[in-house]
Amino acid sequence: MTEAAAVQPTPALTAPTQPRPVVLLLRRAWRQTRTKVGVVLVLLLVGIAVIGPFLAPHSPTEFVAAPYAHPSSTALLGTDSLGRDVLSRFLWGGRSVLGLALAATAIGLALGVTIGLVAAYASATADDVLMRAMDVILAFPSLVLALVAVATVGPQLWLLVLVVGITTAPRVSRVTRGSSVEIVERDFVSAAEAMGESRRKILLGEILPNVASPLLVEASLRLTYSIGLIAALSFLGFGLQPPAADWGLMINENRQGLTVQPWGVVAPVLAIALLTIGTSLIGDGVARASAGIERGGGAE
């Protein structure tokens, strides 16, 4: 008789260990073209916004030629409605939009996630109260709410950040609550409760890590939206005030001269467009990666 073969009854788990699921998600997101394009766009425009001022040939308030002059060696993109160098103002103009939008998004996320988590896990009454409060804020288009605030207090920057943050929070809280409610039902949360884990530890340790994926996607959506909203408010004249250099403000200021000298409008408009497209692509890349993992892709 042939000799018995070596039998391996208990297979060792021989594949290499995997990193944290969030890392896996980001890696998988990165592998998509759209994410790469998005990251490039965002880095480019953030670069312009942050480093721009150091590269500007003139000061943003200096008069360098006649209004709406065509591009020349002094003013590579021509001049604006008052004769200031468009290129310099453009290089200076990104900081405000970006900075305010980031701050507002951060506030909105912090508020929204907290409210969403608490609403999903706490009692039904707390859930009702919190979500009704969010509904009241959601009953307004954000722009309208911001404008009402501005009508009352005036165009203060802190007000803009606050209002945009407050209008962001309900949407974030809805997404957080929606995803968390499904997690709360799962047995591992019950297991933690049975062992007597504190509520805070359960929210932060069991629930939050499991809603990280939809939250990442939502964060990028909110950032895209905040940039748009802040820029729109400046465009309408309620953000930074003249003579400050701001992309939104520039677009409105130079509208009259579109038929003569379009650069004063085109440069900032393209910048905002590319920035929002970039953040949106990144968010979509993460969303697809997350859907792919859920459908059973595991680590490939």
């Binding site: 009402v148 895209t224 309408l236």
Partner: protein, 321 residues
């Protein structure tokens, strides 16, 4: 009694009204935080103390906040929206015609974007993962990311002033005419709004159709030997529609806010532009009135979304009885 479907509708309407009431409270409270004196703002620096006192009397500024709120609310309901600080006319007169103009804009935008978005969503769902689908997905994503004013400005640059010059960059409509009598002036604003909402609706349509087409019951229908047409229209679409309707209503509500910027860019004589003017002029009565009008449209469309969703889903419908 508040039972069944009609009971549900009534309850949702009441809830909507309650929300609107809360909203009105917020609007009123926000505008009360005004640091300053409306009477002085109206009469100017050179006003005498007597005239100031008289005007304050007239504007009820001496009453407590609660009474002022009550009066204002009463006025809202009866149609007396106060007097514009800038135009010195009743607010209702200032905004009356403009409401019609804005409604026209929203209506055209809705009539074009909804069928378009549903069609795109259905087609891309059917042809999942094809080049067409991928292309549309990226394209719509990009369009959805752009803020409305950017879309508006880009359209103006593209079609109005710089690249081509075929459409007017400004929508000047004489105050006595109806908006639909000037189609050329309507194109760009409507197009902007359509671009603003179509991507969202079509994405939801696609997502829900994909989910339905991959469901067990659609597979079962095919395994039963049902013809493909019946599978699509009798089995798939009725289930795919429910989430889409919600999003359609929400996006229409979104339009109510979107017109603010769009009308400003094109100088279109609607309530959006009026709103921006009022804010710039700190014309509080107009701001309050328009905020409530816009919020009312928003709330109503949200209620409609909830109601239609329930009516369309048998599971939810029967649980109401």
């Amino acid at each position: 009694m508040l039972h069944g479907i009609s009971g549900f509708i009534i309850r949702r309407l009441l809830l909507g009204l309650l929300t609107l009431l809360l909203v009105s409270l917020v609007v009123f409270a926000a505008t009360q935080a005004l640091p300053g004196d409306p009477a002085r703002a109206i009469l100017g620096r050179s006003a005498t103390p007597d005239s100031l006192r008289a005007l304050r009397e007239q504007l009820n500024l001496n009453q407590s906040a609660i009474v002022q709120y009550g009066d204002w609310l009463k006025g809202l309901v009866t149609g007396d929206l106060g007097t514009s600080l800038a135009a010195h006319e009743p607010v209702s007169q200032v905004i009356g015609k403009r409401i019609e103009n804005s409604a026209v804009l929203m209506l055209f935008a809705a009539l074009i974007s909804i069928p378009l978005a549903v069609a795109i969503g259905a087609v891309t769902a059917r042809r999942r993962d094809s080049t067409f689908d991928h292309g549309m997905s990226v394209g719509l994503l990009g369009l959805a990311a752009l803020p409305e004013f950017v879309v508006a400005i880009l359209l103006v640059v593209l079609l109005g002033t710089t690249v081509f010059q075929v459409l007017p960059a400004v929508s000047l409509i004489p105050p006595q005419d109806h908006a639909w009598e000037h189609p050329k002036e309507l194109v760009l604003p409507v197009l902007t709004l359509v671009i603003a909402v179509t991507p969202y609706i079509s994405r939801i349509m696609r997502a829900s159709m994909v989910e339905v087409l991959e469901s067990d019951y659609v597979e079962m229908a095919r395994l039963k030997g049902m013809p493909e047409q019946k599978v699509l229209w009798r089995h798939a679409v009725p289930n795919g529609i429910a989430p889409t309707i919600q999003v359609v209503a929400l996006n229409l509500a979104y339009l109510a806010g979107g017109i603010v910027v769009v009308e400003f860019v094109f100088g279109y004589p609607g309530i959006g532009a009026a709103f921006v003017d009022a804010v710039a002029n700190r014309d509080i009565p107009v701001v309050q009135a328009l905020a409530i009008v816009i919020a009312a449209v928003y709330v109503f469309l949200n209620v409609a979304a909830d109601v239609v969703t329930i009516l369309v889903s048998p599971r939810l419908r029967t649980s109401l009885r």
